[in-house]
């Protein structure tokens, strides 16, 4: 448990660091984003005092307050869930926009990340177990190529060939827009059907990493004495493969999983662009394109916090998986 508390401490620090980066980015940047936002808002008419105040705090303009006062005000704003006002979707707030888009990203990512991890890990286990066979050679080579494939490239190919040319899958939208969103079967099936291609490409581009990691880890584990002993004990292959070898080999993968989450969240952006899939990543891209700084910052913050939270979950998982961490090494 002490391990988890320690990790939580680190994550809190990470979140704090993220907040602070978010606070300082616009202040460090050359030029003054706040000016731009302010100008743009002014073009639409007089800015209300509250909006102005929020902007000033957000970007540190038109204020003689010392930095730390601004910082406190900024933190206070965040504490109240106030991420500012989107200029792009004015008068909607950043919180509203995020709230609207996040569910899509969350579902798509969770499903494909979990699937990819599971699939990659399973393939890695099997391939390591059958090391040196044709299966291993073929899969390892193919996966090495896919390991560093550029995601948008792969996705566009999928959109064009599987989606457009062959027409097997829809190539845009989160669901068939003629349907009414809600908890009805038609909509859910449609949403699932629309998620196949984005998820598939996401899985293909990430599965290689998990597979190769797991393969290496598994091979290393397979040479451990306890695996040899398990074989000597006459246990069934599957038992040896999973309970003895894979159970231990997966530990480094789990750590890697936590680290990779950030990358995966970043990948969401590309998925959503290429597949015209609704979600937070595309919103970030749009926000950047149109210099909607408050929205971009808000989403970045959210992504960091989400990554941190997922890391925490993975940490707990790790703790549950490894009794040595669970019980804390005593000196």
């Amino acid at each position: 448990m002490r391990h988890v508390i320690r990790r939580i401490g680190i994550y809190l620090l990470a979140i704090w660091a993220a907040l602070t980066i978010n606070f300082f980015l616009p202040r460090l940047a050359p030029g003054n984003p706040a000016e731009i936002v302010y100008q743009r808002l002014s073009q639409h008419g007089a800015v209300s005092p509250a909006t102005l105040k929020a902007l000033e705090i957000e970007f540190g303009v038109n204020t003689t307050d010392p930095l730390w006062v601004q910082y406190i005000a900024y933190l206070n704003n965040l504490l109240h869930g106030n991420l500012g006002i989107s200029t792009n979707y004015f008068p909607n707030t950043v919180t509203q926009i995020i709230g609207q888009d996040i569910k899509w990203t969350l579902v798509l990512l969770t499903v494909s990340v979990v699937l990819s991890f599971t699939l990659g890990t399973l393939i890695g286990i099997v391939v390591a177990w059958r090391r040196g066979t044709a299966l291993d050679t073929v899969l390892s080579s193919v996966m090495t190529f896919f390991y560093s494939i550029l995601y948008p490239w792969l996705a566009l190919m999928a959109v064009y060939f599987l989606g457009y040319t062959l027409g097997w899958f829809p190539f845009a939208d989160g669901y068939d827009v003629t349907l009414t969103p809600g908890w009805n079967l038609d909509f859910l099936l449609s949403a699932a059907y629309h998620a196949i291609l984005p998820a598939l490409t996401l899985i293909i581009s990430t599965v290689a990493g998990w597979m190769l990691t797991m393969r290496n880890s598994m091979i290393t584990t397979l040479s451990e004495d306890y695996v040899l002993l398990a074989q000597a004990k006459g246990l069934r292959s599957r038992r040896v493969m999973f309970a003895y070898a894979a159970r231990n080999a997966i530990l480094p993968s789990v750590t890697g999983f936590a680290i990779a989450l950030g990358t995966v969240v970043g990948g969401a952006l590309l998925v959503e662009i290429v597949f015209s899939y609704p979600g937070i990543g595309y919103a970030l891209f749009q926000a950047i394109q149109s210099q909607d700084y408050s929205l971009a910052d808000g989403i970045l913050l959210l992504i960091i916090v989400a990554t941190v939270l997922m890391n925490l979950v993975v940490d707990m998982l790790y703790t549950a998986l490894d009794p040595r961490v669970r019980q804390e090494r005593s000196a």
């Binding site: 040479s223 306890y226 006459g234 069934r236 009794p323 040595r324």
Partner: protein, 376 residues
């Protein structure tokens, strides 16, 4: 009293496929273990003793490969005919995977050197015991299995509550006891122990050995005990085989070996352990280093370090031969085999059988020759 052999290893060969050719890790090794006895296998690093353990249990992994020989195992006849209906010995190397799995552990168990590495760190030791029972005794009801696990732990001197512990929560000694408990789970006939106590401190080592000797009496176990510590082996083993560079150079009863080691290497080894008692004298040891298996000297692999070396040694590999009967007067228990040309009437070139004095003086000369070379 000669008992029927339980394990008969004949002309076993194991090769390692290295990048630059084949390495003979075990080269034409034959051993016999009699029921209820302890066969000690002694040797230095690279002598092939651990490879033997893995070869007998068919646990070798690439790049190691068995390239010849037989491992004849003659277990007790099983009423349920699980393994083999015939009472005669079976060649473990020819068993089909399913048969092999049946032989493993219920007949032959193995204990590795490092218990830390031999126990699955993410599984309680109890589960690792129960695993064996669940696989091989599926008919046994669960409570009975649990009871068996508890009994096993108590048998090797660990409190039964420790079944719930993970390996890292146990001390080195307890871990090794736990692996022994796992080895005993199915009351196998034969246990192969690969340096089971080397990683432990002397006091713990002694405790475990004592325990082991007690269990062996009680359970009528046959044991192959592998170690580099010859002095320890002499205390516990019935018969001893000494390996050098993948071959057995001498095989005899522990008693005979202690009294009169025949092979110059055995002699040198025995005289490399400083003694706790008796007169203090400068010992010479064996000069030089054990050979690199990738470049084993021609002929007798030991000849560059041997005090008795003469012409044939660097040309012909000596075979392991039973000592001529006329020397039986000296060996009062069992037969004594040695792989040295000096004991082979056909090759001894008229030289007499080597004596302890000759070997001792030879080593002294050889040693100072090495020293001289050193000072030059």
């Amino acid at each position: 009293m000669t008992r029927r052999p339980i394990l008969d290893v004949k002309h076993l060969c194991v090769d390692y496929l290295a990048e630059d050719g084949v390495v003979h890790a075990v080269d034409d090794v034959s051993l016999t273990l009699r029921r209820g006895e302890i066969l000690g296998l002694a040797g230095e690093s690279g002598s092939g003793k651990s490879t033997m353990a893995y070869a007998i249990t068919r646990l070798l992994r690439p790049p190691a490969e068995i390239t010849g020989g037989e491992v004849l195992y003659d277990g007790r006849a099983r009423a349920n005919g699980e393994m083999t209906p015939s009472v005669g010995p079976v060649d473990i190397l020819r068993l089909k995977p399913a048969q092999l799995r049946a032989v493993r552990w219920s007949e032959i168990a193995i204990v590795f050197q490092s218990a830390m590495n031999a126990l699955n760190p993410t599984m309680t030791v109890g589960t690792q015991v129960l695993d064996v029972l669940a696989t091989h005794r599926p008919e046994m009801p669960k409570p009975e299995r649990n009871a068996r696990a508890r009994a096993l732990f108590e048998m090797v001197g660990i409190a039964a509550e420790r079944l719930k512990s993970y390996p890292h929560e146990l001390s080195g000694g307890m871990r090794q006891r736990a692996t022994i408990a796992i080895a005993l789970a199915l009351s196998p006939e034969l246990i192969i122990m690969d340096e089971p106590t080397t990683a432990l401190d002397v006091v713990v080592q002694r405790e475990i050995l004592t325990e082991l000797m007690r269990l062996r009496e009680r359970l009528d176990l046959s044991i192959i005990f592998i170690t580099h510590d010859l002095s320890l082996l002499l205390e516990i083993a019935d018969t001893v085989a000494i390996m050098y560079a993948g071959r057995v150079v001498e095989s005899t009863s522990a008693h005979a070996l202690h009294r009169q080691p025949r092979h110059p290497y055995s002699f040198g080894m025995l005289h490399s352990f400083p003694s706790l008692r008796g007169e203090q004298r400068l010992m010479t040891g064996i000069p030089g280093s054990p050979p690199d298996l990738r470049a084993v000297p021609a002929g007798c692999a030991f000849h560059p370090r041997c005090p008795l070396v003469y012409a044939p040694c660097s040309q012909v590999v000596p075979a392991l031969m039973t000592m001529p009967t006329d020397s039986a007067a000296i060996t009062d228990s069992g037969e004594q085999s040695v792989a040295c040309h000096r004991y082979d009437p056909a090759r001894s070139e008229g030289k007499p059988l080597p004596t302890a004095t000759e070997m001792e003086d030879g080593y002294a000369t050889l040693s100072s020759a090495f020293q001289e070379a050193g000072k030059a």
